[in-house]
Every structure is written in structure tokens, then in C-alpha cells.
Point group: C2
Chain length 181, copies 2
């Protein structure tokens, strides 16, 4: 369903180096590692158009509640009309960051999610982007070759309204093993 | 893809009344409302068999990382073999609780998720269930017709290993409007 969605803006200090690294797939060390993320850096990924058809298809498969399935039923709910499942919003965000940067890093995955807030409904026809802010970084307590990068991810609409926020740590290999924290 | 997955066990005090209410779709007031949830009650929903095909299909659409797409690549990752995206685990859990009880309540949705922990990999061929524990309930501060039920949801495998935990408040209409808290 989803095509590759290129980053449309990235205000970190190492933009060009990252993209050069991403193209050079043969050298694992050229991927972005834990040391390459700095607190305060912000990047935006996407855009992606969210259709009525995919909202309803996702809901039918994973979250079959009236407000995600049917306009008439949705009109009588708190959302006041058809809107994507909150889980769908999270999954779209995941796809945009996977294409946007995660698959060009030494990511080892994430242990979980610290918090999700579904702030505004995601309506059919919205063109969404993800704003990713590095909140902080820390070395692993137990593994000198691993570090964590804490992210705030925000799903934005065309007017930069924040539809959802998601805070999550990403676990990455370190370029050079350091002392455990 | 998913069929309806009936609850296989429910240890709350109002099991029979809930199910009778669920069948009687004509009377909205017969649905479970906020007052019908009690702290400490536990129910189990499912089971559902998770296949390799659906793990790979979900990952290709929403979380295209090597550990969710390909056995050989996954073997070299922290997960040590193919495993479902953590987001897929959340979505399967959502489907099981929607079918299991949410769609038979006065649910108005959820404002978000307080925490998700991906504790153990969800492997192809696992038959999962959801254990739902009511952690607490509270009336809305602002709306006398609304209350919150805080849940701990656990995704279990056949041996009752906890694969993920997810804590989330569900917003429900009250059967009788009370004083705002």
C-alpha cells in the first residue's frame, strides 16, 4: 500500500552525511549509529496521504469500532465523524520513520513505548507527516556496545496540527564501544 | 483476515449478565457501562493463531525492518529469528479486546496508551490470548456522564508467558450520570 516516503526536511546537523551513508549499503559502519544522534535535533518525514479506504480496511482488520468503520455510525460518536483507529495512526507513523531513517541506522529495535496520546482525529484525505525530536540519549547500563535514543514523535496534518504524540526509546549499536553508563 | 474470536474464559463477577447484554443489541442500556467494571476483575480473550504470513504482511505494510520480514536477516538481530512487529502485537491485542468486550460496552474510545512493553518476541505459529485486568476506575473530572476504566492488557502465549504489556484507559458512558469527581 505505502510507497517509499522520502524525508522532506531535516534540520539535524548531519543531514548530508546521513543520506550519503544511507546510499552506501555495503558498509555497515556508514549507517547512523547511537553517537550520531544529538538531543534537540528535529527531522520531518513523509508526507503520506491517508485514504478513507485504508482507514476502513485497517479498522475492519484490527479495530472494528463504529467510529472507524462507517460515516453514519461515526457521526454519533465522540469523534463526530469517520476517523482512523489510533493504532492505525501509530502504524502509519512507524512506516514513515522506518522509511525515513530507522532502516538507515544501526537500530536494534525498541523495548516499548513510553506514552501515546491520541489528541485529534485523523480524517480521511489528510496528508500526514512525522516530526521526530531527539529528547535525549543515554548509554546502556549493561552493554557497552549499545545506547538508547529517546524520541518524541508527532503526527502532523497539513496545518501542522499535532494529531498524535508518541514517545519511545530506540536502541542502537554504538559506533565505538564505550564504557557502560 | 481475522475471524471473530470468542472469549474463552472470564473470571469477572458479571460474566453471564454481560453476555446476555451483548446479544440484546436493541437496548443500548443493556450494554456494559462504566459502573459495570470493578477494580481487580480479570478476563481472558482469544485465542488467535498468529501465522508467518500475517507477520510478514503486516511488517511489509507498516514496519519493514529485517527482524519482521525475513528469517535469515532476523536471525542476525537481537530477536534471534523472525518475530512480529511490536505494533502488530498491539493491533492483534486490540482486535481481540474489540471482539471480546469493547464492542459490547458503552465505550467512547481511549485518549491514548500509558505504556507498552514488548517483553518477548511473538513468533510465527503462536496461539495468543489477551488477559485484561481492571486496574482501577474513576469518574471524569469534567463530565458527569463519563468515566474511565484503567486496564492492564497482557498478550499471552500458550504457556502463559507474557509477550507484551499495555496499559490504557478506556472512556465509557455511565449508566446513571453521577456527580463529577
Amino acid at each position: 500500500m505505502a510507497g517509499l516516503v522520502p524525508a522532506i526536511s531535516l534540520r539535524g546537523p548531519k543531514r548530508d552525511a546521513w543520506h550519503k551513508a544511507g546510499r552506501d549499503k555495503g558498509k555497515a559502519m556508514s549507517k547512523r549509529h547511537w553517537e550520531d544522534f544529538e538531543a534537540g535535533s528535529v527531522a520531518v518525514y513523509g508526507p503520506r496521504l491517508v485514504t478513507r479506504e485504508e482507514i476502513v480496511a485497517f479498522a475492519a482488520e484490527f479495530d472494528p469500532q463504529p467510529m472507524h468503520l462507517d460515516e453514519a455510525a461515526a457521526g454519533a460518536t465522540l469523534l463526530g465523524g469517520l476517523a482512523a483507529s489510533g493504532w492505525h495512526s501509530c502504524c502509519l507513523l512507524m512506516r514513515m520513520i522506518a522509511d525515513g531513517f530507522v532502516n538507515e541506522t544501526s537500530s536494534m529495535g525498541a523495548p516499548g513505548v513510553d506514552e501515546v496520546r491520541w489528541l485529534k482525529p485523523l480524517r480521511p484525505g489528510t496528508r500526514v507527516r512525522v516530526r521526530a525530536t531527539v529528547v535525549g540519549t543515554r548509554a546502556s547500563n549493561s552493554r557497552p556496545d549499545v545506547g538508547f535514543v529517546n524520541f518524541l514523535f508527532e503526527l502532523l496534518d497539513e496545518q501542522d496540527n499535532v494529531l498524535i504524540t508518541l514517545t519511545s526509546p530506540l536502541m542502537l549499536r554504538r559506533r565505538a564501544a564505550g564504557a557502560a553508563a
